[in-house]
């Protein structure tokens, strides 16, 4: 039985990589991918806790796993909308560099 800490550490590492990539990368597709990475790091943590909780109570606990499904659904929707936005931005500005997409500046 792999201790839960291993999963959590892996989850934290994945999340940190996602955050770092989000902050560092300029290409908007890469940024998008780093968001997916963060989401899946969280999913991993959910699954790990779900299993841990089942072991402690001696009954099957599916709350965490159901939550993962929600996250995946949201991520899928987000990917659809997000890619559409990316295409629209590319058409409008001819670039995928996030630093040049600062329309919300005051």
């Amino acid at each position: 039985m792999v201790p839960i800490a291993y999963y959590l550490v892996l989850s934290a590492i994945l999340f940190s990589i996602g955050v770092a990539a989000f902050l560092i990368k300029r290409n908007i597709i890469t940024v998008f991918m780093s968001i997916e990475l963060m989401l899946n790091a969280v999913n991993l943590a959910f699954i790990a806790f779900s299993r841990q909780w089942s072991q402690i109570t001696g009954q099957l606990q599916v709350n965490g796993q159901i939550f993962v499904f929600f996250v995946m659904v949201v991520a899928a929707a987000e990917a659809a909308v997000g890619l559409a936005i990316i295409i629209a931005i590319f058409r409008a500005r001819n670039t995928l560099n996030v630093d040049q997409v600062d329309l919300m500046k005051l």
Binding site: F22, L23, V98, D99, V101, D102, M104, K105, L106
Partner: protein, 670 residues
């Protein structure tokens, strides 16, 4: 038994006329405007006439209360009117002379723009003036008092496109405000001491306490006097009246000669119960009166504008009325008010007729020789000049003599008052006959160069006819229409016979007028008791007639027999001449001592320091501070997604750290 007199209708009918003409008069045909204005001034006159016919059967004072206006605890001020002998006299003057002047205005203002506006203001004036004289308490009287000031302001500035007229209106308003301040303080004192502003209540309280002498009553009386000097153009607040001549001439006749300016005299007579208890206040009234009478008469001697001569003459005659009141001869003061209303209204209207016939010329130096050309104006004006100069048996002689006689009998400095008053009578005769000779005798003189802009805007119109009709040479000299001459003739008759109402006993009369007013204004303890008898009065009367005749004689020599003499005399008496010619520089002195400092404080201390530095500075500082902080924080919103994400990650990490380690390092160190 009192039948219902409906006194409230007297002021409200002119008010209705004001509303109609003021609101929709612009769109109404001229004939309708005229009808409305005349009806609105005739109805009160008829109602007053009806009251006169049944006056003998009334129980006086007749009171009419139309409910509470202000009620606060035990204090209340009501919409209350009263009618007694004094009110009746004032009502007759205001409605009678008022109606005549309305009729006259129909002719005088016929060519003016803003015809409807003029009559709306005139009706408004009647409303407030009638409120003033009918009021049963100080507060309602004050409403009328302020209202006539407003109407006066509007009518002085009637030709509002002329800067001088607008300024004159403002001057009248501001100077009157100083007087009104005194009236207000007097009312505050009355409320503080009597808890009421009703005439009957205050006077009965004073009557019930014979031990109240001087003290606070003097204070109240002196503040009332301040109010009266403002409204009645007495020293020190007389300066607005000469400038008020910027208004149309009928306005000068109605407001600035016959009615409004006598409100101060009326007020002193009305509140004489207070003044009777305060010898000091009475002495102040008499001194102000006689000083003003003399001072204004000297200025009047050298004025060349026909209306300004009459304006200073009005101030001077008002001084006589104050003198009468100041020696506690209130009925004499009111009597002079009545006769003065007749002959001064006549003088102004006749002067207006002269100005009208000369197409706007007001400078007497450009008149002369008009006797044959405008005979009716000439004869009516002659009646008025004789009346004001105190030539018997004209009206002014009787009333002025009554005042001088009462002043002579007054125990405190009465002889001095009498002597100055007598001298003033001589001056009055002089300057009035000067005006008479300069206007009607000799040869027609050419207008002086470079004063075309001073022409009164009679016939003024904005179309091309303006140029033609305002040109003094374009029109031949013409007599005024009968709608103007009619009032002149009626007033002339009144100026001739008006004096017989109060014909003194010394001359075989019965002084009916004095007896009529006695129930209202009889002094509680006459200061002029004793020493008077018929032969003394006769001697004094003869003296003043002699003085008036001397004044006439001087005017005759200087302005008729030897026309070159005045210029030589001016040469020899250069200092005096310059002093008087410049009206003693009173306007300039007031300007330097009062107006300039007030303007300085307003402009620099209040305008710049308080307004711009403190108030503007305060609000601007608050605004800029908020804006500055906003700009500082707005820099966070770079629009760069990665910077947002960076902040998010940073603070998420910080929150995580805090939730794990706590706020202090205390936990960590353990």
């Amino acid at each position: 038994m009192n039948s219902d007199l409906h006194l409230w209708l007297i002021p409200l009918v002119p008010f209705a006329g004001f509303l109609v003409n003021g609101l929709v008069g612009r769109k109404l045909p001229k004939a309708l405007v005229t009808t409305i204005a005349l009806v609105a001034s005739l109805v009160p006159a008829l109602q007053v006439a009806a009251i006169v016919t049944k006056f003998g059967s009334l129980t006086l004072p007749y009171l009419e209360n139309h409910g509470a206006w202000i009620a606060a605890g035990s204090f209340h001020a009501d919409f209350a009117f009263q009618l007694d002998q004094l009110t009746l006299v004032m009502l007759c003057i205001v409605t009678g002379v008022g109606f005549l002047i309305h009729v006259y205005s129909v002719g005088y203002m016929a060519e003016e723009q803003g015809y409807w506006r003029f009559f709306a203001y005139m009706n408004l004036f009647l409303f407030f003036m009638l409120t003033l004289v009918l009021a049963e308490n100080f507060l309602l009287m004050f409403v009328g008092w302020e209202g006539v000031g407003l109407a006066s302001y509007l009518l002085i500035g009637f030709y509002y496109t002329r800067v001088s007229a607008a300024k004159a209106g403002m001057k009248a308003f501001v100077v009157n405000r100083i007087g009104d301040f005194g009236f207000l303080i007097a009312m505050f004192l009355l409320v503080a001491h009597f808890g009421s502003l009703s005439f009957s209540e205050v006077f009965s309280q004073i009557g019930a306490h014979p031990e109240w002498q001087s003290g606070f009553l003097t204070a109240i009386a002196l503040f009332l006097v301040l109010g009266a000097t403002g409204k009645s153009a007495q020293i020190p607040l007389y300066v607005w009246l000469p400038d008020a001549m910027e208004g149309p001439t009928p306005v000068s006749a109605l407001i600035h000669a016959a009615t409004m300016v006598t409100a101060g005299v009326y007020m002193v007579a009305r509140t004489h119960v207070i003044f009777d208890r305060s010898p000091l206040a009475l002495a102040v009234v008499a001194t102000i009166g006689v000083a003003t009478a003399f001072f204004a008469a000297t200025i009047g001697i050298l004025q060349t504008d026909i209306k300004r001569v009459l304006a200073y003459s009005t101030i001077s005659q008002l001084g006589y009325m104050f003198l009468g009141c100041g020696v506690a001869a209130y009925s004499a003061g009111i009597f002079h008010l009545v006769t003065h209303a007749f002959f001064k209204a006549l003088l102004f209207l006749a002067a207006g007729s002269v100005i009208h016939s000369l197409s706007g010329e007001q400078d007497m130096r450009a008149m002369g020789g008009l006797r044959k050309k405008i005979p009716i104006t000439f004869w009516t004006m002659t009646a008025a000049v004789l009346a004001i100069s105190g030539i018997p048996p004209f009206a002014g002689f009787v009333s002025k003599d009554e005042i001088l006689y009462q002043a002579f009998l007054s125990p405190n400095g009465g002889k001095i008052f009498w002597a100055v008053g007598l001298l003033t009578a001589g001056l009055t005769a002089f300057y009035m006959f000067r005006l008479w000779y300069m206007t009607f005798f000799g040869e027609r003189r050419e207008p002086l160069a470079s004063h075309e802009e001073d022409l009164a805007p009679v016939h003024a119109r904005s179309d091309t006819k303006l140029v033609l009709e305002a040109d003094p040479h374009a029109h031949p000299v013409h007599e005024s229409p009968w709608v103007m001459l009619g009032p002149l003739v009626i007033l002339a008759i009144l100026s001739v016979i008006g004096g017989f109402m109060g014909w003194p006993e010394a001359l075989g009369g019965s002084n009916w007028f004095g007896r009529f007013l006695e129930p209202v204004v009889a002094a509680a303890h006459p200061t002029s008791a004793g020493g008077g008898n018929n032969s003394l009065e006769l001697i004094l009367a003869l003296t003043s007639v002699a003085v008036a005749a001397i004044g006439w004689l001087f005017a005759h020599i200087l302005y008729y027999a030897k026309p070159g003499l005045p210029a030589r005399m001016a040469e020899n008496l250069r200092v005096v001449y310059t002093l008087v010619k410049n009206k003693y520089w009173v306007d300039e002195i007031y300007g330097a001592l009062i107006v300039a400092p007030v303007l300085f404080i307003a402009r620099w201390l209040l305008g710049v320091l308080i307004d711009r530095v403190v108030i503007d500075g305060g609000t601007l500082t608050a605004g800029y501070t908020a804006q500055g902080f906003g700009a500082l924080i707005a820099r966070i919103q770079s629009g760069n997604i990665r910077s947002y994400a960076g902040w998010l990650a940073l603070f998420a990490a910080a929150l995580l750290a805090i939730s794990y380690f706590g706020w202090t390092t205390h936990f960590y160190l353990q």
